[in-house]
Subunit: 397 residues, 2 copies
């Protein structure tokens, strides 16, 4: 059993803050500043250019990729880090579309994170007017798996409500219709057990700055199934995805396996922070994290529903149908969230009326949840949100 008091001690949390926004940006792992100081002073400072080999910089994208791979059920050697999630979405979609050359439609849902939809829209425009991004309601995805769909692109956990898609079932159904799947695990990796190999997913992508705590702008990851990886053409064919980057050939030859999904020079400082953050997982089991997360979310829902009658649950009530967050609808949600933040309970707001709270057992415990319920009750029952300042902020943001 994971010792969550021990993992909580591995994070720096500001005094008097209850941080329920780790699903936007995870907190600082205490080991990260020292790791960065070492990377800068002992590696960059002393080794200079030789750090690429001597300090192992060149291997970090796949080595840390494998550590993330364990959390998402990937086969070893099939996850690589780099770029941003938006870029990784583009890479996956471009490769996936080429694997299904007779079809022209990317299917997604309107609960997907907008950047995924934007990247798909941009790619379709680049490819030509016969390509189409088709978005349906989340509950209509299954019935929309038609024979003109080339790629199904879904985010497993809805960023607003926390609703979970059934990755196993939808992947199987999509594949039965000849559709390639691209799964965005932004709100899954490190939050709940994922099994990309077991689900037979084709591509998966995700970010590291939420539940993997890599810090602002940490790199993204991409997974390509072993059956595809040596066949896919990297549309973003950068030199570090080349079979032999240091031969400086004039023509591109894709590297072996997942290496071909590398593009440019990897962000070593961000990777060093991520590496420190991944050490936390040496003391944590993702199944324990999931069980405890459901407990904390259930505790929060019960507390809020008992004492904040104006708020309506926007997340699935069944913990197994939910990611690691709870959302409530409240028409004064923006102002209320400002009032909460001022009182040290940090969640976030998603338009038009969603108050969103992430629960990360690695550093959030029952006492934090109880405190969040108390402050939220105070803010809503005593209309502490109803100040000109908070409402003005709501207008300008």
């Amino acid at each position: 059993m994971t010792d969550f008091a021990a993992t909580k001690a591995m994070f720096h949390l500001p005094d008097d803050a209850t941080y329920l926004d780790g699903n936007s940006l995870g907190p600082l792992p205490k080991a990260a500043p020292k790791r960065l100081a070492r990377t800068m002073q002992d590696e960059w400072g002393e080794m200079l250019i030789t750090g690429w080999n001597k300090a192992g910089w060149m291997g970090m994208p796949t080595e840390i990729g494998d550590r993330i791979g364990k959390l998402i059920g990937a086969e070893p050697g099939h996850v690589v880090l780099g770029d941003t999630l938006s870029i990784k979405v583009y890479q996956a979609l471009a490769s996936a579309l080429e694997m299904n050359p007779k079809r022209r439609v990317i299917l997604s849902d309107n609960g997907n994170f907008p950047s995924d939809l934007y990247m798909a829209e941009g790619l379709c425009k680049t490819l030509g007017s016969d390509f189409e991004l088709r978005t349906v309601k989340p509950e209509d995805v299954e019935n929309s798996l038609s024979s003109d769909v080339a790629v199904l692109m879904l985010t497993e956990v809805d960023y607003r409500t926390g609703r979970l898609h059934d990755m196993n079932a939808l992947t199987a159904e999509a594949q039965a219709h000849g559709i390639i799947t691209v799964w965005d695990l932004a709100h899954s990796a490190g939050a709940l057990p994922v099994d990309v190999a077991g689900a037979n997913a084709d591509f998966a992508v995700g970010c590291t700055y939420k539940y993997l705590n890599s810090g602002p702008g940490g790199p993204a990851f991409i997974y390509v199934a072993p059956r595809h990886v040596n066949k896919v053409r990297p549309a973003l064919s950068g030199w570090l995805g080349h079979e032999a980057p240091f031969e400086f050939d004039l023509s591109y030859r894709p590297g072996s396996g997942i290496e071909r999904m590398r593009v440019g020079t990897p962000p070593i400082l961000q990777l060093a922070a991520l590496e420190a953050a991944m050490d936390v997982w040496d003391s944590a089991n993702i199944h324990d994290v999931r069980a405890q997360s459901i407990k904390l979310c259930d505790q929060f829902i019960a507390g809020v529903e008992a004492s904040c009658p104006e708020l309506t649950l926007a997340s699935p009530r069944d913990g197994t149908a939910r990611g690691s967050q709870v959302s409530f609808r409240f028409e004064n949600g923006y102002a209320a969230m400002q009032a909460l933040i001022v009182r040290g309970v940090i969640g976030d707001f998603r338009a038009p009326d969603i108050m969103r709270f992430g629960f990360t057992p690695l550093y959030i415990d029952e006492a934090d949840v109880a405190r969040a319920v108390d402050v939220l009750t105070d803010v809503t029952m005593n209309r502490l949100w109803d100040t000109p300042e908070y409402k003005m902020r709501a207008r300008v943001t």
Copy 2:
């Protein structure tokens, strides 16, 4: 006049090292570790998610972009940081091709950095079989500006020899043929004065980890000319390039101006290191840097030619036709470079036979050049490179 002893004191350089590879990876600015510690502890650690506004993270890509813009002659508000140079090349090319919809050819030269060519090749494959990347010899570019060329993509400074393209003349000639220009300033920005506005360049891109000293994997930059920026379609249409990212619309609307060339979440730790590195430019003038760089390069050429008869100059002899590096051809160049590095003179090697030395007046002075000449003389005249170990390394790399 820039005080180069003062700027040299702003960098950490290992004892007994003469670092002539800042054109691959610039050294550590002494202020960077403290800046990173602050970003991690005081911003990420204490402000958590609110750092995006409170610590100004969201504005860093354009604010630091403007500081780079001054060095490359860009109009304020027309440079933004993010991603890697390969990605920025792709962005520029994709937009540029769409601006010239009746043409299908990207023209470049075979002295361009391979990743630029690979990205162009990948984009052409994505766009369809009628698109072509045409590469000619650097000296044949001018005569290859034909009416089927949509985009001219060149790197101003050849990464092997340091040969400079004439940016003003080639841009004007290309535009006279209806061709859009994309300039890669990887070996220019921070090395020599560039004037993208004066040259009337359409797009420019570059990296920050060479002459701008941002550290391994620092972000890239992109410039789009004011006359184009509100018309270009961003092919990589990520949410932070959206007109209103936090409205979470389902459809993409490009942001105003250069903001639309942002894609995903910016790498704040790398940007913080870059910010510290840019402070050096408060004490340095790029014209002084250029004049001193030519002096140092001339000193090196004279010294090597006087005492290393086996080496042949591969760079232009005329300093104004050269970037901030000097290359020599030597058939045992790989082994010789190993021998040099062991003796603390750090340059690099580019196949098949090029020994490359970068000269950066910000932290390299006349005494460093004299020492490099002495060690290179010792290594070549006394055949110190001729050991089984160095030659073996040459075979396996």
